[in-house]
Symmetry: C2
Subunit: 350 residues, 2 copies
């Protein structure tokens, strides 16, 4: 079962390897008759290009720009980068050049700046997390004019210049949180959603989570659990944050569950006494070190893991599959909604 090579095709078609090469790679300058014949024979033999030989011989260097928040500004983002590097390691000799560009997670200006810079690199594609909705759309349009497609991770966005999305379904992660509260709460308890984010954002990956949570309790009314939500935008200021939380407590005496919509649960928990907070069922996102502390001491009950490693890994593999292997890639690849508790936390990618 030797693999079919262009040499085999050339011999059968009665032409030279060069001609077969031109047909296979659409380099033109081949007469219609010959082209058809070569294609027919290639199909008959079930020819598949030997990618490693191809990449070895080719001088073309594929270029991808990766634009992600800096781990310094948000710890979560260290892991997707590891995923990217790990994928890269698998395809080390494919002549792929990666340009890493980082921005402060709170700065939409820096985000725009770096994506613009990425576009100027004229890469084959840009892999990014489009955290800022409005800016992202504009930038993706700009990219489209320059014929630079995008691959996205973490937050979903619709645009026909986006080749793929790898990440969770925000809606369903909220819905799942509903289920987890439902198991753990009592009749007439109340769930409060806290969004600790700088811009009071209408980013879909936030609103969809809330929608999912609310929908869950619309569909499951046996316990009469009520949901309210708040945005704390100046969460970096401990005093203000604490004050706003106290107000919320007062306003919602039946509050028994707290749902943090992102990885910043620890920001509030750092400010509270254990006794005061352990009466709440708490669900947050992301297995970053600061949150794990609270998961392990029983303050956070569930963490929903967003598979940051695979976001990076699969994101880059999508690039490879699309550009190098010429494979169809899925427009949406929804990653699992991992339920992380104290008892299984050690087995997830730390």
């Amino acid at each position: 079962m030797k693999n079919v090579t262009i040499k085999d095709i050339a011999k059968l078609a009665g032409v030279s390897r060069g001609t077969v090469d031109r047909v296979i790679n659409n380099r033109g300058n081949v007469s219609k008759m010959v082209e058809e014949k070569v294609i027919r024979i290639a199909n008959e033999l079930g020819y598949e290009k030997n990618i490693i030989a191809s990449r070895l011989a080719s001088t073309k260097v594929y270029k991808i720009a990766v634009v992600l928040p800096s781990p310094e500004s948000d710890l979560f983002w260290a892991i997707p980068k590891e995923g990217i590097l790990s994928a890269l390691n698998l395809v080390k000799y494919y002549r792929i050049k990666v340009e890493f560009l980082e921005y402060n997670i709170s700065s939409s200006e820096e985000f725009s700046f770096q994506v613009t810079k990425a576009i100027k690199c004229k890469p084959d594609a840009i892999l990014m997390a489009p955290l800022f909705l409005k800016e992202s759309e504009e930038l993706i349009n700009t990219g489209e004019q320059e014929k630079i497609p995008f691959l996205t991770i973490n937050s979903e966005l619709n645009h026909n210049n986006i080749l793929s999305y790898t990440g969770q379904s925000s809606y369903h992660s909220g819905y799942l949180a509903g289920k987890l509260f439902d198991i753990n709460l009592q009749h007439d308890d109340e769930v409060i959603v806290l969004n600790l984010a700088h811009e009071i954002s209408n980013a879909p990956h936030y609103t969809d989570k809330v929608k999912g949570l609310i929908d869950y309790f619309k569909e499951h009314k046996t316990k009469h659990i009520n949901v309210s939500w708040y945005e704390f935008d100046d969460f970096l200021n401990g005093e203000v944050l604490l004050k706003r939380f106290k107000e919320t407590q007062k306003k919602h005496p039946e509050m028994k569950g707290i749902f943090f919509t992102n990885s910043r649960a620890y920001r509030l928990l750092d400010l509270l006494e254990k006794e005061e907070i352990e009466k709440y069922k708490i669900i947050g996102f992301d297995m970053i070190e600061q949150n794990l502390k609270y998961l392990k001491n029983g303050i956070i009950d569930f963490i929903i893991n967003q598979n940051p490693f695979n976001q990076g890994y699969n994101g880059l593999m999508n690039f490879v599959n699309h550009f190098i292997h010429n494979k169809e890639i899925k427009k949406q690849e929804y990653l699992p909604l991992d339920i992380v508790v104290k008892e299984n936390v050690d087995f997830y990618y730390k």
Copy 2:
């Protein structure tokens, strides 16, 4: 930043490529002086072998025998095979030959027969699920004499002829089940462990699960939950199975939780009426089609997913990393203990 090649080393060392090649690959017939010089220069330059060029040029075909239960005898095993094929697809042109050998999951004789056959193929390694403890140990010994190392998935076994284990920690999956029961059960409820397996087995991947579950409740006594366990070995006979379950029910009036230690929950559930069974909290393993039905209609509450796809994928990648990339591979790679509920089931590998 061009990559360093043997040519570069050869030039700097003042020898030919062939000599460098012999040093790099320990082919001998090189004088000590030259060898040391080449090694020194290679290290200085940070030489890394270009694997794709290497595999392209080499005539050596790596051979791996894969011995797994047939999907016909146990559906679970369709997925690890998919994982293996998927990994294989990534390294398609590395000249790896895979010999798939299947056995009926209930037959230790067939297992031994196929592993013996695998050894006779004289592969570079054997990837298998050592479901039968005693037989496995003997076979691994035989393999050791023939210098054939093993890679294992799914059930853990200690032997120094085993290069790696990829799968869950059975103990912790039982422990996790304890936690899940604890959340969902009441004071003085009882949990029954059901092991539906042919041989009343002392296989560690069964006993460890029970141990984990029991330990959980040893450490968490607030609800006074009691645990008992039973082996149903003739589970294929519906009548007998049902009878034995009824007996168990009678014997344990406080039974409120049922823990199935493997993927065969559906075998019993198929025999019971919905009304009769929905009062129990049920935890089982593996996202096979027949179980998913019961997860989706609310009869099974939790499925612990064993990542069958990754068992296969990582198992094969371990082979590649060890033999082709010459990388250290971990002796134990514990996969996540995924908690699957109705609300997140669609996002796990079906």
